[in-house]
Assembly symmetry: D3
């Protein structure tokens, strides 16, 4: 169960309106790697944890914090949109500054949300739960979490470079720091699980059931062998279960398939060469 | 540029048709973590690499191999659908075996694809490029790749448990082994980059610009402090840049926000309390 | 900013597992009118309120409560999935009870989420922010909120009829009561705004600028005049601005349009009849 | 069954081309609250009405009219796109007026539709039936219809403010008036149903089966009690079934949940603390 | 502008309810090639025609007819759903006939639409305008129309085979005949345009500007030369502009690309090998 | 199974960067008719062919070639993005040339992909497998292929007109030529199948089972009879099975439908007029 306080985790106040940057900032609210993604991902993972209370708590701590990040960003976007011009377009076309704004802002910030933040990315595409995962396997999921914090921090860093507004930069500096922590924490949790299990997910599947003869082989399917010079092509494998091998000219292991004709009530094209 | 040979990388021949398992298997063709996802993700990452030919080659090697995995799975699905019953539904309802099949299979395997594989998941949802990423930052992307191979291998393992067909199991055992290799290889590449850069992505962003006072702090936003007992809550941080700190009762750092009214031509509700 | 406690707002414990009902219940988690929709909708509306602190508070109160409803339902789904059979499909086909379960459950509850709840509807379609709105106009938005609580309560009522599990029914009876309150509260807020403004949204747009001659006219575009006998076809209009009028045989007010040809560099089909 | 006449319900002729406004106007064709949404929503509701011929007729009257509104808007967009420049982009970059147009228009209006209207919103996102509902419960659905006409009229009002073109304004003034009528008519139909049933949907579900102790309670989940001062927090409830109550400090009613471990063939992380 | 009559273009009355077939039938309402697709596609193409009144009229004739087909199918689905069981699931699991129905039907037909038709396909995926096209080039679009009628008739034929209900078969026989006509009509329109222009779309683009040396060449990118024996590999080309040529071993025409590094403010991985 | 060489099928090198054109060019990578669509469509069709090795080979030849076209276009986009400005937006607003670029480019090319190509269209919408089809009926599918090559070449031609960059134009001239070939080849394959079968798909469905009385009738559902003057309205039908007939005033063939009430546990609005 959740509680809310009206105060923000951190300041979200720009020096001045900037509707174009408001559009850009939407990427880290409702984009693939935005705050809605991490909030919902951590909460669903947390609710689905079976035992492992330590991890459940960590997930719910962080998911709950991320809800507050959506709130900070939504507040910032709403303030950046204040003073967005709604001149007639004709007037705008004549004024280079206004037309730069209108050309670069998201028209839905006027027409649909009335100067409010949206659950969308920087191109106006609405957030979808296709972005997230909760698989029940914590190592698999923590790797996704580390990925999300890496991609997210990368995007915040790029946005930081695109503005001179000290208020915006101050808030982004906060988010960068929190993403630093979150990368650190998932990294620590991953190490713990990898040491207990193995680096290969799922570690509970019996390795003798897989085709072990190709479990540590790099097939050179793209001509040129620059990839032969990496750690992944020689020496003991990272999982401690074998030795890396490089196959310069990979060949097929199975013959050309031929499918049987479909029954007539499917109305496919009958084979002429059968 | 690509070339194709008609032979398969590995066998894709079931012992007998099984339209319900054909539906299940679609998850690892066109689902979030299916073979279309990894093929397209590695190829786009590879095409976008700037310099770093070793990594570019590795990405294109693997992406090209994954195209062949879509092919193997598509062939398997087409064969599992052979002999799918298209009785009238009335007949089916009376025969428990046929109704088990019709209730469990994907009707689009009859109506839309005519007993062919589809670029869809196990619920018939078409594949979308929302599943993938190529960010230009290789550490961020390789973490996504390791995630994809972890989630993918987990799903294949679950599918392996759901069938007794030795032909299907044989092919899944191949895919399990290849996913083992791919987890190993991205793991190796990640280690290499982490050692050269730092574990925090992007490593090029100057750390002094972020709010370092919260870069290694765990906020206990979900009551209960099981999470205080993890590695992430005490000791030196994983990135070597600080010491983990646990905040039992996190407080807001900024006041309650208040937004200004919108201009009249937006036609929002005017504030009654201004 | 948000806080979380591990306790649930209300009990979410079924008498026994039921993977088929788990699938059904997903509709009110991640479907169009599920709890993710109301939580996110109220929060975004609340964050975007400009002035009107009373409404902002009401929105954030309710949105925060709804986050806890997602949690209750996710917990219920996870428990309903316990003991979901993962026999081989071949075994299942032979046992009518197991095949009823496998035919009716969502395969992604096994393959993707590993017996966990998903941010999806009863057909496995992931939640999308296309379901929600925050327009900045509170009367328009509260009408959407009343709609959401009406559709949501309707779906919960239908689900209530489909199970005999007393634990499930107990939790649904809680949600039904909360939806009753939420319908009541948005109803009250709507009345308040309608009395202050007018029933027509947005009330700030000058009525003399619209084509008032058709502001209270029902055009009988579908033959048959049963609709002529409703309140909407005669008497003073609901907005107090006119008198309803019924037009039996509506006619076009403008001539047939004819578009000009496109320039050659568009490569459209050139008109043969110009 | 439908018939079509080539004449338009109302004029759709701009004074001059304006490709940027053409993009904006797409919002009310193929956006969430555009004319495709209301047309399809009313038609599906109408086709699904069981008995209640008066409402069926009203739905089909209005749905059929809305098809004509899509037509008017499509015609307007096609005309606004006439004369859209397809200079080379290099030329455009040098001419501030042309670049204002190119920066602000939708490139798919050139590349995909060849200067034609699209079933898309103002950001080029295609219309989806996720926007609409037909539930079989008319009060629930008429509330959605009233919402749609409220949001729709709001968007048209905002667009009206953004242009000086008298032809465009004239058509929008028509649509504003029709939305006025449609808000009036759904309002009237809602009153009728509310008086016959009750304001809580569905009214047929026995109230004694819900947890009545929380049917009229406002939980203050977001700190601060501005919401305590509304009509929804005291006095008789709107549905006449109770008295509103305000709970300043809401508490959980159920203990912390703990889920059982998954069976081994699911390959989740085994609990370490069981 | 449109008019509607309540009568149906053709009968839509099943002999008896069949909720499973109702689900199947949704494919040709709201699926990729269903009636919503053809209705909307023809109407948008028609509204966008510039000159060429003959084609505009044909498009609007047919689009308007297709609206009536959605209506027929929606009526049929609503009737097939009558008598759909809403027993408790527990009861259902014990009765093989009911469980066959519950396993095979779409749960949203109960929970969401209340026994009504939906704008969705046979897996419950909502219709999207991503399915359709109106490009302004009539030959390109009529080819899409012929495709749509071919795929659509194929699906109806498959559905015809899956039922014994004489009422359903009678309606499908009507739709099959209308699809026959529509294939005929688009075929005729295509011939007319091909004879006037050329078979290659767009015919207005000057052929000398393309790389004519590969305009009639088949590259054998997939090993094996069965494709060498088709009409497309030898003899005069179909467009009368050249001679087909078969290239057994295609080679790249351009060197390996190498991209320049990104600027530092993008925070990509810096190239180690530059 | 696939192989890759690093060389490109053809040159993909612009004279200079152009981030706005990079956005435009995305349409033919990840848009509805872009190269991902044709690659995936041909490969899935090829993998699903049952017998008919000649067509299977042709599909796999062409699908494999199209993979190389995605690569060429991705390379071109990456190069067009080189030198994309990431100034602060404030600086940009002051410089008309930079603001033209920022207003017209896709912000995700900076924030998300770090100057790399994306699997998206010109509005940033990600590719979806909803765009493609593989039905098992080759005539139906080859018609879709001819459509795809027609729409695709049309879009490339429009893009060709929008740039003066000789490097870009050179690559587009290559793609135009390949689309010419592909239109030719599907045209040839279609002729072959039409001559062997019939023009109506599926030809295997017995014509006497359809309602032949309307198999060659044009219903004039849109007033005005310009369409009466086409080949489709008189003379022998294209399929050689009848004579075209034009019906000036089409009438319904079936009475007004009336649906039965839903059972009470569905909680629909009870009919008041039953």
């Amino acid at each position: 169960m959740f509680y809310h306080v009206k105060e923000l985790q951190y300041h979200a106040k720009p020096e001045r309106p900037d509707p174009v940057f408001a559009r850009m900032l939407q990427e880290v609210i409702g984009g693939q790697w935005g705050e809605i993604s991490v909030a919902m991902q951590y909460l669903f993972q947390g609710w689905n944890v079976r035992g492992n209370e330590k991890y459940r708590d960590l997930l719910l701590d962080t998911g709950t914090e991320e809800l507050g990040h959506i709130e900070m960003l939504a507040t910032m976007v709403a303030r950046l949109l204040e003073g967005a011009p709604v001149p007639t377009l004709e007037e705008a076309a004549k004024d280079p500054v206004i037309n730069a704004i209108l050309g670069g802002m998201n028209p839905q910030h006027i027409i649909v949300s009335g100067l409010g933040a949206m659950p969308s990315d920087s191109n106006g595409r609405r957030w979808t739960a296709d972005y997230i995962i909760a698989s029940g396997n914590l190592l698999a999921d923590f790797r996704m979490n580390l990925t999300a914090e890496s991609q997210g921090r990368l995007q915040v860093a790029r946005l930081y470079e695109m503005t001179d507004d000290r208020g915006v930069k101050d808030m982004l500096a906060w988010l960068l720091a929190r993403d630093t922590m979150h990368q650190n924490q998932w990294y620590a949790a991953i190490k713990e699980l990898e040491e207990k299990e193995n680096i290969v997910v799922p570690s509970t599947f019996p390795r003798q059931l897989e085709h072990r003869e190709v479990s540590h082989v790099l097939f050179n399917n793209s001509a040129g062998n620059q990839s032969a010079h990496g750690r992944w092509a020689h020496g003991p494998s990272m999982d401690g279960e074998g030795v890396f091998k490089y196959v310069e000219k990979p060949v097929p292991f199975a013959p050309k398939p031929k499918l049987n004709p479909a029954p007539p009530n499917i109305h496919n094209t009958p084979p002429e060469d059968c």
